[in-house]
Each structure stands twice: as structure tokens, then as C-alpha cells.
Amino acid sequence: MAIVERPTIYEGSRIPSPIPTVLRTPPDLEDTEDVLRVNFGPNHPSMHGVLRLIVDLAGERVVGTEAVIGYLHTGFEKTMEQKTWWKAITYPERIDYVGFQNDELVFVLAIEKLLGLDVPPKATWMRMLLCELNRIHSHLVFLGTGALELGAISMFWYCFRERDLILDLFELVTGVRMHTRYFQTGGLAEDIPPGFYAEARTFCDWMPKAIDDYEHLIGRNEIWLERTQGVGLLSADDAIALGQSGPVLRASGVDWDLRKDQPYLAYDEVDFDIPVYANGDVYDRYRVRIDEMRQSVRIVEQCLDRLEEMKDEPWITDDRKVVLPPRHELHTSMESLIHHFKIVTEGYPVPEGEVYVAIESPRGEKGCYVVSDGGPRPWRVKFRAPSFVALEATATCMHDALVADLIAIVGSLDSVMGDTDR
């Protein structure tokens, strides 16, 4: 980790005390008629789903904030304890429904770590490719909705135009546009369909031009700059203390990305840069994500280069105790039929143990802690949700903010409420 040398964002710490996540209204203002308590959300168009903020306003100034979450709590972790391992794979992608492919990956990696499975290289590279496409998808949703909330409506149409192209690619590979369940323990669920590489290349040629478009639209737009620069400050030390990760941390000048610092899949074999900005404001969080999209396109291109060389290689491991046998064998082989039946009805046992796997999701460190008792169902699954942690920083970022900044700040933390509430 290196902290980029720039003028300090602010002196000391702004984390509220004693409760780090609640900005208290100053005692001299409390109970005066100058303070208006406003309930923002949970159903409000600019609250990114069902986040609720209790905001104390003195005029236009925000003097107190508290985030209230839980409106989208669905008990995924409890439900997953009731499912066999391979049925549970469908759940993580519904947790962070924007960064779905990365969530699926972290759970599958955790199962594979407990099982000690080796994954064929074709599957590894395809996983990386889809995760990077998904990162672009996630950042497009951030950019589109974030700009929409600040009044730049056209950004929304442009971003969702490219988002649709990505979802088309997902549909081509997996048959579904979101929540693909394409990653299987041991590899991929199916082989990569013909025609995908060409389509993906077309997208890679197009995407950098689209990013140029976005930057032309708002990059030098006076209103956009006024509303994002110097707003929602978060210093590097505060960001680390508050557990921030991903683009929020990198916008505060901390050069930290698990893809580089703790490489998983084959990220150590591709060439890409980590964008880092040092002003710690909403504008830099936007810049980091714009640059990350460009880097993701680079990674996708390198994945395509490698995948095209692996034409006839296996896409899933050959461990029949874990992986379903090929469909055609079920008609001719008794052994395959038994294995198929066992895996579908009982599930496969995963050795006793506990693991924590972390990856760099579009929102930061996505962790998965899994305990197995040696049976066919997870004993405990817990996701370290970057959106949950990001919202802990709202009170710190809200220092000296106006009510209009509040929208920009919450948008820039890029929380997905499904991920926050699980």
C-alpha cells in the first residue's frame, strides 16, 4: 500500500464520537426551532433502493445524520444454511444484485478452497472476463443513477445503453441477463458458446469510445464539477479506520486493490493499472470508477486473447464427486447416473473447516466466511458486504454538507441495498 502524496484532505479525524456512524446535532442547536428533522427514505427516488436517512437540517446545512438500514433484509445467510452447497450458489448473486458475478465468484472460490479443487485455466480466465464485464456494468449503474440524481438525466440513457450491451453478452453466454449462476464448483456450468469472442471484441472496441462520451458529457460540466468537487471529504486514515475499500478507498489516495495486492484468479498474469486519486471527494470517486472501466476493458481484451487459444480445453474439472457428469453419459453409464442422482438429491460433502475468501468486487472487498461441518450443507455462511461498510462512512462524509450534497455523497459511496441488508 502506498498513500499518494498530495495536500492533506483535512487535519485530524472527522469520525464522530462516541458513535462512529452517527453525526450528532450539536447540543446548542438541539431542541431549538432552527433544526428540522427530516426523514429521507426508505422510499425515495434518490436513496438507491431502500436506505433511510434521519437528517437534522439547520436551514440547508446538514447538522446531524443517521443511516437506518435493514429494509431489504431477506435472510440470505440463513436460507443458504438450508440448501446444499451447489444449490446455495444461486443466492450470493442476488445479494449484491448489481455486482452479481463477483458475488457468485467469491462463494464458489470459498467452496473450492474447502474442497481443495483445482480449476482448469479456461474456467479461470472466463471467470475473470465475466467479473470484469460485471465491474463495468456495476460502474455504469453507479454513473447513470448517480448523475441522474444530480440532474444529469442524459447520462442515465447513455450508461444504460452500454449496460444493455453487457447484459446481452451475459445472455449470450449463460442464457440469462442477470444472476447467471454460470460459475459452478470446479469451473463453469457450460462451455463458452461460439460467437461469444467476436461479440465481446466488438464490445471492447466500442466501450472506450462510450467512456469518452461520458467524460464529454459531464467531465467538464460546470454544474457537475460544482456539485462534486470538495464534497463528501474522507481522508485516507479515516477511510481505513472505517473499513472502506474499493473505489472509495482509492479516491482517498490509498493505492489498494486486492486484484494487485492479493491476486486471485489470474490477475497476476494480466496487465492493468490501479487508478488512485487523492482528494477524497465525490468527484474523485467518480474519476476512479471511470478509469477503472477503461482498465477493465483492457483486462477483458487480454482474457479474450488467452481464451481464444484454449479452444478445446475443458471448462470444468473432472472430479465426479463434485461435478455433474455430462448429460449424454446418463443414458449409457450406470455410474454416471448414480453420481448425478447423488449430487442432485444429497449434494456433495465438503470437508470440515472454515475459510475466509476475499475478492475485489466493484464496491470493494467482498469477503465470504464459510464454515462446513463436513456435510452437504454449509453450516454458516457470512458475507462481508462492502456496501454495508460504505454506509458507515456517511456520517463522516457529511461534515459541513448541504442537503443537496447529501444526495451526491450517498450516491458516491455506491451502496447496493441488497448487499447492505443481505
Binding site: 500500500m1 490509498v254 460433502p349 470440515e352 473447516g353 472454515e354 457470512k382
Partner: protein, 188 residues
């Protein structure tokens, strides 16, 4: 890293390439301060409690509707169950009911990680680490809400995901599935 000077370490485990330090619950805060200030673990990634009620036994956890209902969490292969493929052996017993896991990360080259694990029984409290890592605030609230782990010294230990007046702690193994009370029914 040897972790020899960490206070209160009861056991050190190396599994799947991950280091776990089992720490005496009474010295949790000392151990955390030491890990942060001396060993440089400046980043608390996560706090995860796990409930081991019924670990390796039958008839405890996960029932639909009735308590006598089917037992989804008992691993097949134990007792009268017909499983042939699953569950080679009974899992190692746990000494206490809950484990609470603190996943720490040091933001420096090599990204070293360590898991601090404490074991407690129902009703025992842990010392809060909010003063060590402010991010622990919501993680500890979630642990209280979902598992009923109490943290002394936490400035704001309220429910976070469930409603304020919710009864019970949903991620405990003895919490019924599909059996929650209905607020309004036709009889009233």
C-alpha cells in the same frame, strides 16, 4: 509472522493457508490493540459470529413450522439416515456455543490476514472493539441483532437489520424457519 507476543492467545491454527488465533475472551481487546499497533493490522474486514448449537447432533436446528419437523441441518450419514456418500466422520466437538471471528487485514505488501477467534456461551459478553476500529460499530450491532452476542462498551448496541421490537436472533440455530408469528390473522 509468529504472533508470539499477542496477549491472550490460547491456540494458533494454520488451516487452508489461513492463520487463526484463538484468544481468551477476557483479553480480546488487548489482543486487538496489540495486533493493530504492533503487528500493523489496521483494517478490520469483518466480524462474524457462528452458532455451533447442535454441531454434529440431530434434531436441533432448522425446522419448518413445527419443532418435530424435519431436521435440515443434521448432516446426513449420522444415525438412521440413509446417506452413503456424505459425512465421513463426526466433526470435532466445540467447547462453547458461539465463535466470534474478527477478520483482520494489514494494508501493506503481501496483504497479511489473520482471524482472531473467541469462544463464548450464551449470555456471555465480549468487550467492544469500536474504539480500536470504528468500523466495528455496525458489525457488532449486526452480531447482536442476528446472533444475540452482547458487546460491553459499545456506544449504540441496537438492532440494525431487524425491527427494533423483533424477538429472537434469527441466525441462531434454534430460531425457527417459517415459524415466525403472524401479526394479523383472520381470527381477530
Amino acid at each position: 509472522m509468529t504472533f508470539e507476543s499477542v496477549p491472550g492467545v490460547v491456540e494458533r491454527k494454520e488451516e487452508h493457508g489461513e492463520t487463526t488465533l484463538v484468544v481468551d475472551p477476557a483479553r480480546l481487546r488487548d489482543a486487538c490493540l496489540h495486533l493493530r499497533d504492533v503487528e500493523g493490522f489496521n483494517f478490520l474486514a469483518d466480524i462474524t459470529p457462528a452458532d455451533y448449537l447442535g454441531w454434529g447432533k440431530r434434531g436441533v436446528a432448522g425446522y419448518y413450522g413445527t419443532e418435530q419437523g424435519r431436521d435440515l441441518n443434521a448432516p446426513s450419514g449420522l444415525g438412521a439416515s440413509v446417506a452413503s456418500q456424505a459425512y465421513a466422520r463426526v466433526p470435532r466437538p466445540k467447547t462453547k456455543r458461539f465463535s466470534v471471528n474478527y477478520h483482520l487485514l494489514a494494508l501493506r505488501d503481501g496483504a497479511p490476514r489473520v482471524r482472531v477467534q473467541v469462544w463464548i456461551d450464551d449470555g456471555e459478553a465480549l468487550e467492544s472493539v469500536v474504539a480500536v476500529w470504528p468500523t466495528a460499530d455496525w458489525h457488532e450491532r449486526e452480531a447482536w441483532d442476528m446472533m444475540g452476542i452482547r458487546f460491553t462498551g459499545h456506544p449504540n448496541l441496537r438492532r440494525i437489520l431487524m425491527e427494533d421490537d423483533w424477538e429472537g436472533h434469527p441466525l441462531r440455530k434454534d430460531y425457527p424457519i417459517g415459524g415466525e408469528p403472524v401479526r394479523f390473522s383472520g381470527e381477530e
